[in-house]
Every structure is written in C-alpha cells, then in structure tokens.
Symmetry: C2
Subunit: 330 residues, 2 copies
C-alpha cells in the first residue's frame, strides 16, 4: 500500500480511502491512485483489514457432512450467492448432528472471525448449540427449528408434502402411505405433518407411518413390507432415494408402478426423471433457499442488528411424471 501511495504521490491513507470508496477524495487523486494500483498490480491484504476492523468478508457455513442431495446442493448454491456479494465461504462440516459437534464447528468459525454464520441445522439437537452463540454474531438457520426465534429460511415441507398427498388422492386413491425420513429431522417431521393434514382434510384413513433414513436402502426395506400388503395403492416417500429403493422392492415382488401402486417422491434429484418409471416428485428450490439466506445474512451484517427474527419460506413445486396413476379397479 505504501508503494502505491508513493507512486501516486499521496499518503497511504488516501489509498485506503480510494479502496473503500470514501467520498471526500477528489476525482483527480482517485484516478492517480487507481492508476498506481493497476500499474503495481496491488491487491489489498484482507488479513490486515480483518485484524483492524474485527471482521472479515468471509461467511461460515455449517453443514452436515453427508452426500445427501439437499445439503450438498445448497452448499454450492450458497457459495455462488456469497461470491456474488464479494464474500468467501468457509465450510465446517459436521460428521454427526449432535450438539457437541455443531458447537465445535461454530467455534472453529468464530475463531476465523467470520462475518456471519449460516447453519444447516435440520435436527433438534442443533438448537442448544446455537442458543449459546454470542448475541452479536449474524446468524441464519436453514431448515432449522420452526419454533425457535432466529432468522430462518426453510423449504415449506408441510405444503410440499400436502401437495404430494393431495395429488395422489386426486388420482383416486382412497388413502396414501408414507415412508418418512429420520424422526429427528425437522424436514422429515414437516413432511409427515403435511401428509397427515392432507389425509385428514380429505377424510381419508391414516395408515401407520413407516420410517426410513433418507437412504434407498431404507426405501427398499420398507418396500419389502409394503409389497406384501394388497391394500397399498399409493405411497408418498420422504425423498427420491427412498422412492428408488421402494421401486426396486416393488419390482422384485412383481408389483407394477404405477398400474398397481402410485408413488410420489421429494427433492427432484436430477436422476429421478430416469427412474423406472420416471418419478413424480416435489421440487424444493435450493437456489432460492441459498439466495434468500445470503440476502438475510448480509442484511444483518450491514445493519449490525444480528437477529431480526425474520423468516423466509420457499414453496416447493410438484413435478408430475409417470409414477402416479389411478388405483387399479378392485
């Protein structure tokens, strides 16, 4: 910076002012400084700036360390959005979603003096870890506890699940079965709730809930059971991978989809259009979630007021494909 100042014939402070787009610097010197910067190929040292300002142009993201489609696609979408606002992204993945490891990940980020935090915290155990956070750090929670008072961005799981269930009921099915995600995930709970609501609203009988863990394997395991129950004609699965396992199990038992059994998934993974048959599913807009999160976080960072307690809900859309048909005549 000193070199630039010398070349431009000004003080280092003036260079700093140009860099930070302060007013009160004449057009003439501004140009001189700009020229000197360009000539020397000077790039400011963000570390030094971070030291004196006490904050950095870095956002910390805490995400579960899984290959799950949702979290991983949000991560990249998130990085993209941050980048467009001039922020870098520090990831701190957590192997398991318990309070301790989330708290650790948060600590690591705080050590790095991040400007704000985004936490993908889809389970209840994340709550306490976040509660002990210093008051003044900007925070956005994604898919977090709907009850907690903090800035929250969520996919409207309930509405998505309701749409899926209603779609099956509208096709003529008397009721709809559900294979859920892990019980401690808010996402899974929301989808169960939407499913229940739709059944109740339609006056349909509610079959027992089957529980999966997002994996195709769990869909397969539950599918083995469903395949043997002749009264099952429609199933809504908590995600597309469970649906895939279910399709596999049904196919092994010779039960045809959608002729005998209709299925709706959730997530719209890019492959689901090529399942056998192509899967009707619900698409949450992960890009929108990421964009909204960055937006809310930057608002907090700029304003200095950490917790506005606003929440943003992203509505998913139903993608009809070939895995839904009217029930077979009995």
């Amino acid at each position: 910076m000193m070199d630039v100042a010398r070349l431009a014939g000004v003080s280092h402070q003036t260079v700093s002012r140009v860099l930070n787009e302060h007013k009160n610097v004449s057009e003439q010197t501004r140009l001189k400084v700009r020229a000197a910067i360009a000539e020397l190929g000077y790039r400011p040292n963000r570390t030094a700036r971070a030291l004196v300002t006490g904050t950095s142009k870095v956002i910390g993201v805490v995400a579960p360390n899984t290959a799950l489609y949702g979290p991983s696609s949000m991560l990249t979408a998130f990085e993209q959005a941050a980048q467009e606002s001039g922020f870098a992204v520090n990831v701190g993945s957590v192997r398991s979603l318990n309070e301790r490891s989330i708290a650790d990940a948060v600590e690591r980020h705080l050590d790095q003096r991040v400007a704000g935090l985004v936490v993908i915290a889809p389970v209840a155990s994340a709550g306490p870890a976040l509660a002990r956070l210093p008051e003044d750090v900007p925070l956005v929670t994604i898919d977090g506890d709907p009850q907690r008072a903090s800035t929250l961005v969520t996919v409207d799981q309930v509405a998505g699940a309701r749409a899926a269930t209603e779609h099956l009921l509208a096709a003529g099915h008397s009721t709809v079965w559900h294979i859920s995600g892990p019980a401690d995930w808010f996402d899974a709970a929301g989808r169960v709730q939407g499913w229940e609501e739709a059944l109740k609203a339609a006056g349909a009988e509610q079959p027992p809930l089957l529980t999966g863990d997002w994996s195709a394997e769990s869909g397969y395991r539950n599918g083995k059971l469903l395949a043997r129950l002749p009264e099952v004609t429609a199933v809504f699965t908590a995600n597309d991978h469970i649906a895939l396992g279910l399709l596999r199990a049904l196919s092994e038992h010779g039960r045809r989809v959608p002729e005998e059994i209709s299925i709706v998934g959730f997530d719209d993974v890019p492959q689901s259009a090529y399942y056998t048959p192509p899967l009707t599913t619900v698409r949450p807009d992960f890009d929108a979630v990421a964009t909204a999160s960055v937006e809310l976080l930057l608002e907090q960072i700029d304003s200095g007021t950490p917790d506005a307690s606003t929440r943003r809900t992203i509505a998913p859309t139903l993608i009809p494909r070939d895995s839904v048909a009217p029930p077979p005549p009995r």
Copy 2:
C-alpha cells in the same frame, strides 16, 4: 493475550511461546499460562497471527460448482481431512470450468492468504490458469492433467475402466460399447483409454464411441440409439447416472438387463445398488483421494518446498452386482 499475561504474571511474549509450544519455556510457567488461558477462556486471534506470519491455517479448495457425485463427495471428505489437521477450508466453486473462472477462483483464495490450494481440475482448460500461479504456493491438483508436472492425486481411471471392460468380456461378450463423459474431462478420457486398452488386449473389435455428459439424460439419449442395435450386448458407461438413463431407455424399448444387455457403471453412487437391476459398477475411493491430497499438501506447507511433483494414484475397485450376465445365445 495481554490479559492472560497479566493474570499469569508473565509477559505477552511468554504467552505466545506457550501457545506455539516453543521450547525455552519452563514447565512451571507453562502451567501458569495454561491455567490463565483456561480461566479467561482466551482464544488466540487467528487473524492477527495470519497477518504477522503471512499465512493462515486455511486451505483453499477450487471445485466445479456441480451436483456431480465425485466432486461433491470429495469436497466434504476433504474438509473432514483438513479439519483433523487443524485446518479450515475455504471453498471457491466455479460455475464453468474455463481458464478465466478458475483463475478468478484461485485469485480469491490467494487474497485470503490461504496456506495452500487444492484444485479439482478435471479439464484441460485448468492447466494455463494453474501455470500462472506464483511459484511458492503449495498446490495439489486432483484428477488433473496427467502430463503436467505438479503434485497430483488421481483416481486410476484407466485401470478402473479396464477392469469394467474386462469384467464384461470375461462374462462372454464379444465386445463392449462405451458411453463416455464429456470429451474435455481427463476422467472421461482415462475411462475411454482403459476401455480401448482392454478391448485391444482381448482382440475384440472396437465399436464406435458414444459421448455423454455425465447426466442420466445423456445416457437415455444414447440408450435410445443402442436399444435399436441388436448386436449390442454389453455397455460400459462413464458413470452410474449415464447407466441409469441407459437402463431407462432400454426398458422403454423392452430390452432386458442383464438377460439381453449387460451394463457396468462407474462411481458407485449410493443409489446404484437399487437400480433395476442393481448396477455392477466401479468404486473410486473418494475418501482416500481427499486424505492423500491433504497429506501431500501439508507436506508441502510444512517443508516449504511447494512443488514436489509427486503423484498419488488411487486404485478403484469393481463392485459386481446384477447388471452383468453372459450374452444371450444367438
């Protein structure tokens, strides 16, 4: 730090020594300082340290901004490995893999004063961007150009593809077709090469190469064509998603897998065991790639010698499932 020093009755310098595990500090004062640190809950400011040392405990990762299974699972594996060595990870994803955007991502990381860089650079266009990197920054390239002289960690694409092709030939097929990945990806090129080698070694005729783009859609598109060629009995696809699209196309044309056509994929995505039929595939060990990368990078960082030009190759393993069978009698 001053507060800690005061409480321990020493100077700030001694506190720093304790923190950095310098020798020349007596056991007695070390304990006093440790106690003071614990009592005050002091955490060193990494930003200040980064400023004076000129480097940070942060590694930059450049990865393509895709939902592709390989890159995204390496990203999380990578973060995990770095974390265990006390490093944080800064991600800089790139939307498209051209020279310009890769160079930009690298610049952003350098601005942050990262200690080293890992670049997932599976295309040739990444080369020039990396060539212009300052000499002294530790760098590990993943799945990069096998010809370039730089520290490189790769999955042995050729061996994996050879194994897949040989597996099909061993089942009795007279030749094997191949749907490749995008031509500009090294991964794709390696798999094509392994396929060619295996065919040549077996004296099998080499069918024309079909080109995909990793997506199920491209597998489907090519599958529509293959389904109409009665002589096709075995196909090796560049990844599992292409195989899924292929399965779909074959199923639509009433061609049965594996009775009429055998298929082998690549990647072993968690879902491939539940495709219809379960897919025989080749599993690259992404965790091993990540671990090796971090290891090599830390070696460079510690030793101060940036470019050791070592390379580490991870051998993939064939996972036999149900999508391979002998060819139908003719």
